[in-house]
Amino acid sequence: MFESISERFSSIFDKLRYGGALTEDNIREGLREVRRALLEADVNVDVVKEFLDKCTAKAVGEDIVKGVEPGQQVVQIVHDQLIELMGESDTEIPFAKNGPTVILMAGLQGSGKTTTTAKLAMMLLGMGKRPMMVAADLQRPAAIEQLKILGEHVGVPVFHESGMTPPELCAKALKHAEGDNRDVILLDTAGRLHVDDQLMDEIADVSKRTKPTQTYLVVDSMTGQDAVNSAKAFNERLEIDGVIFTKLDGDTRGGAIVSLRHIVGKPIKFIGVGEKIEAVQPFQPDRYARRILGMGDILSFVEKAQGAIDEKEAAKLEEKFLKNKFDLEDFSKQLQTIMKMGSLKDLLGLIPGVGAKFKQLDIDESVFKKYQAIISSMTGYERARPDLIDMSRRRRIANGSGNSTHEVQTLLKQFQTMKKMMGKFGDIQEMAGKLPEQDELTPEQLANPQAFMPNPNRLFSARVDKKAERKAKQDKKKKRKMAKKNKR
């Protein structure tokens, strides 16, 4: 899914780039494709219209850059407008000057409020704060228990008392927090529909009584067109200060992010990227814009990889890849690293065009453990020269590790596959490392984001299509000539 929007955008860009001279048709088609892609990504239909209007207005405006390919220019406009729409990164939690900071969490049912409350509590703990959580969802069965368990897990107290309404409970929690010297109070509220007047009144009352320093709307990133309706309603009643998008560890294109930025205009503060309490990140608008524009979330990938890979070790391995000296000893080490990095496929899924390729390779991580056992039953010689492992060696290794010879054989085969894959993995890392930061980009590069991106498809197709490349170059030359002529 994720791959396909990227690929779609890539193909639009390609079309606009290589589509010969500019005609009415190819621009119209390009914009229509952009529209379809945005709609498919769940950007709200009104927002798409306004966004394209803006892009169009920009295009017909005076600031047409001469000498730039028109296709590139459209791409640049779409890109720039999206970056502008997403706005500056704003992931600070402004704390109250006097007294405790109150954070109100609001949102539809099941969007992730309770989980995110605990995530924020842990984050605040890490910032040296003394947070407290308030279990103000008196609606959902076991909601209080859920928050209590999470509270215990992160080591943050949870306030709850029975026999009062949520607004009363929250007001009381504030008093309690002062006595307990708590400086940030997180209010977890029940999920509610924006059209449920009674419950909307209730949360408005909570807000009135607790005067939150910050009110965050928690939104499921898989939400479709309706996201704007609920967000508008919540914003009208609560004046939200920011939005938190959850479940971005999925493969949703997250068009709701664009929609809410446009409609509500409030910063997106954080994103949830997993069920675990640690799985929360500050939101980075430019990174998201790149994600939706098909430039891949290479940065996330690099960060993750960096967290798990020991630099020196990696350098050594890389050299071995290059010299094709990668042996089972290294394979074993690499397995450990991969296990540390979490699911390899999840990780590679972050790169557009790559995830799909890997779906065909079956990587069962539980198998890695078995492989470790098999490898540890080998002699140093065998690890260095797996190609020399014959049947009798195989039998010995199988017996030693409590596996069948067939499994040893499978490992050896997989090793060969991995060896190839690792070589490519090295390529990606290397290229990703070369990815310039946003502010280091020249206007030309900005105009043509694809140009400086590694084309993941290429990495996995055996050979770069030299012919096609040559043809593209020639086309470009021709076009430039044409453009010169036209100017005269």
Binding site: L22, A41, A57, A142, H194, G224, K247, G250
Partner: protein
């Protein structure tokens, strides 16, 4: 010269796009009874409705094109019939082969596995289904197969209590497949008609979690080979196009037999279910319309389509 063409072109697109919603008004309704002509405004309005209902751009374009083509071909008189055509083209796909309420086991307990992404409404739907079939005098058992999320077991425990059905559970952190097996075995031993197994929410792109779910299925088959008789995927009606991917991957891994579309009591229309039916043949079986245990209804295509088109209460097709 090139830029001149560009400018004209953009100008055209701009006027095309900048028509405001309010100017269009309720074109669909306006058409009924007024005998108005089908025009660009009408088509725009139709497209807008379909898109805003999360039907998705491909299916929307197909429907709009069909309507336009038939109109041009003179196949349609303005008015009711046009609306009929639209409804028909939406409904055909939904209605065909709508199965029985549940695919009951020929003998022994009927096993229903309830799966879906995080927070979609699985646990609540299990409670609602339990209530529904208990009210129909079935002996129902439910299983707390979400052994992962904080207080998931406790949540279902409360529901079991409210509904008045037995619950099979183990501690949080235990093996979900073991819980499911216990439940199926217990249902068999106790002569239960129906066992509903709740599962932990999981995103469809997490392969290890999907494999875990496959294990649940394998393990219950050890006890009841024909199980699960239903594997229902719970979809949040507020979900957009990603729901297609959810359905695809859950289906590929588990063999989904139907959908429960939850949270239709909000303003979301759940139109993506139409695309899912078309692409994967998966029918909506039940809809969730609230947080209470009685807020579950069998799926009705007509009402669903009227809600999408905003023609509730209008003449039925």
């Amino acid at each position: 010269m090139v830029f001149g063409a560009l400018g004209r072109l953009f100008g055209k697109i701009k006027t095309g796009l900048s028509k405001t919603r309010s100017a269009l008004g309720d074109a669909l309704r306006g058409l009924i009874g007024q005998g108005r002509h089908i025009d660009q405004d009408f088509l725009d309005e139709l497209e807008y409705r379909l898109l805003a209902a999360d039907i998705g751009v491909a299916k929307t374009e197909a429907i709009v094109a069909e309507v336009q083509q038939r109109y041009k071909a003179g196949e349609l008189a303005p008015g009711e019939e046009l609306l009929d055509l639209i409804k028909r083209s939406l409904r055909n796909e939904l209605e065909e082969s709508l199965p029985e309420e549940l695919n009951w086991a020929e003998s022994g307990p009927t096993v229903v596995l309830v799966v879906g992404v995080n927070g979609a409404g699985k646990t609540t739907s299990v409670a609602k289904l339990a209530k529904r079939f208990k009210d129909l005098d079935k002996k129902v058992l439910i299983a707390a197969g979400d052994t992962y999320r904080a207080a998931a077991v406790e949540q279902l425990e409360i529901w079991a209590d409210r509904v008045g059905v037995d619950l099979i559970k183990q501690k949080t952190g235990s093996d979900a497949a073991a819980v499911a097996f216990d439940a199926v075995a217990a249902a068999d031993a106790r002569g239960a008609d129906l066992v509903l197994i709740d599962t932990a929410g999981r995103l469809h792109n997490k392969e290890h979690l999907m494999r875990e779910l496959e294990k649940v299925r394998r393990v219950i088959q050890k006890r009841v080979p024909a199980a699960p008789h239903e594997t229902l995927l719970v979809l949040d009606a507020t979900a957009g196009q990603n729901a297609i991917q959810q359905a695809k991957l859950f289906d590929a891994s588990m063999g989904i037999t139907g959908l429960i579309l939850t949270k239709l009591d909000g303003t979301a229309k759940g139109g993506v279910a139409i695309t899912i039916k078309r692409e994967l043949g998966l029918p909506v079986r039940f809809i969730g319309v609230g947080e209470g245990m009685d807020d579950l209804q069998p799926f009705e295509p007509d009402a669903f389509i009227n809600a999408i088109l905003g023609t509730e209460g209008g003449a039925s097709a």
